[in-house]
């Protein structure tokens, strides 16, 4: 089936089997490998990207469900060499170690601030409930999101 979607501002079309998962379309058809696959079972959040502006787990969406929609992946956040404020905050707060969870974590965090622009620490911890990090212990991730939101409250 022919699907077409706007990914990071670019129209991408391809012919896929209906059972193709969105995360596979993004990585293999669109060639955008920033979005990772971790658990492949909607638990870890590594595959998080934005579908029409909202964070979703792309291992649990079919490519055909995203046909005609707008997507943003981690590659679409920075403006050339200028990092998105959330990426900058992750960098400054040392909010990553191995980096595997980072693309999904950043995408979930950006979506969280869209919905709750001035979160408390508890809001951030609950808002990132769907993303697992096996390295950092979360502390610096939470600090980064609070910094990106304009400092702790």
């Amino acid at each position: 089936m022919q699907v077409s979607m706007n990914i990071n501002g670019e129209e991408i079309s391809d012919d896929v089997e209906p059972r193709t998962l969105l995360v596979h379309f993004i990585r293999e058809n669109a060639g955008l490998t920033g979005t990772n696959i971790g658990c492949d079972s909607s638990s870890c959040g590594a595959c998080t990207l934005h579908l029409n502006g909202e964070a979703v787990k792309s291992c649990t969406v079919l490519a055909v469900q995203a046909d005609g929609q707008e997507l943003t992946t981690i590659e679409g956040l920075a403006d050339g060499d200028i990092l998105h404020p959330m990426q900058q905050a992750f960098h400054e707060c040392h909010a990553l170690q191995c980096g595997y969870c980072t693309p999904g974590m950043v995408m979930a965090a950006v979506s969280l601030l869209d919905e709750v622009p001035q979160p408390s620490e508890a809001d951030v911890r609950e808002g990132l409930e769907g993303n697992l990090c096996r390295c950092t212990g979360y502390h610096n991730i939470v600090a980064a999101v609070l910094q990106a939101a304009g400092g702790p409250r």
Binding site: M1, E17, P18, R19, L21, H24, D40, S41, S42, S43, G45, T48, L51, E54, A55, V56, K57, T60, V61, L62, V64, Q65, A108, S111, L112, E115, G127, E129, G130, N131
Partner: protein, 274 residues
């Protein structure tokens, strides 16, 4: 994990979805948010030959006041329910239960109708609907019918829905003055409830729905009767697990689940002013 190959049909209206179901019978499955069906298909526990995508029927995504009732379209996503002012003020228990479903990513995709139609006793929303005495509007080839929540959930992942029918709306009596509490017990973030209790207490009424305490989402009838006849929260909650057959799994055995049901029901009743 990749699902078994299937034919994909995208419904453009409720009638179109119903005609596709009529055409393909039990070979077909409706796909709403996909957050119960797709995991099952990826694990190959489900392998429908035809998937009918109803995810774009935006006319079934709404929350409206209809006299004494709040009407919610089956395709309304968890996120839209969770933050809606009408839901919060008229049937606050549903908003609270919905906010506890999975994580934000899950709530951006999953729908109220999909959660109810899935009929999982471990889900949060069926218990809330039972406590709130909601009803379900079902559309099929022979027209529209309305079923009470108690009669809708018939067994483990089984509901009263026929293969050729679709859930279109959920109707919940408004209870702006009721007090309520949603108690969900789990050990890890984003997990399903090991046991949960949805509690609603009005001036002369009480509703209690339990999560994961039987093969289907279930009403704690003994607790409700005890509260209405004036029993204390502790005495009423003592009956919470009576007659129920909760599952045993890695998280909990029967005795522990029964204990949790009594404790969570008591906390819920206390929080609801009993």
């Amino acid at each position: 994990m990749i699902p078994v190959a299937f034919d994909y049909e995208r419904a453009t209206s409720t009638d179109h979805a119903l005609s596709l179901l009529a055409e393909h019978g039990d070979e077909a499955k409706l796909l709403a948010g996909g957050h119960s069906l797709l995991p099952l298909m990826k694990y190959r526990l489900a392998a429908p030959a035809v998937v009918v995508d109803i995810g774009r029927l935006t006319d079934l995504s709404y929350i409206r006041s209809d006299g004494e009732v709040l009407a919610i379209g089956a395709l309304t996503r968890h996120r839209d329910v969770e933050i809606n002012d009408l839901v919060r003020s008229e049937v606050g228990l549903l908003a609270a239960a919905t906010a506890k479903v999975g994580d934000p990513q899950v709530r951006h995709r999953g729908t109220l109708g999909g959660s109810l139609a899935h009929g999982d006793p471990a889900s949060d929303l069926p218990a809330a609907l039972i406590a709130l005495r909601g009803t379900l509007i079902i559309q099929g080839p022979s027209g529209i019918r309305e079923v009470a929540a108690d009669d809708f959930f018939t067994g483990f992942l089984e509901t009263d829905l026929g293969d050729d029918e679709m859930l279109t709306e959920v109707r919940i009596p408004k209870v702006p003055n009721a007090r309520w509490s949603f108690q969900k017990f789990n050990r890890r973030a984003q997990d399903w409830a090991i046991v949960g209790a949805a509690v609603m207490v009005g001036s002369d009424s009480c509703g209690v729905g339990l999560v994961n305490m039987d093969s289907r989402p279930i009403r704690a009838m003994g607790v409700e009767a005890a509260v209405v006849s004036g029993a204390s929260a502790t005495d009423a909650a003592a009956t919470a697990a009576d007659g129920l057959e909760p599952p045993t799994d890695l998280n909990a055995g029967v005795d522990y689940r029964c204990h949790l049901a009594r404790v969570l029901t008591r906390r819920g009743l206390e929080e609801s002013g009993c």
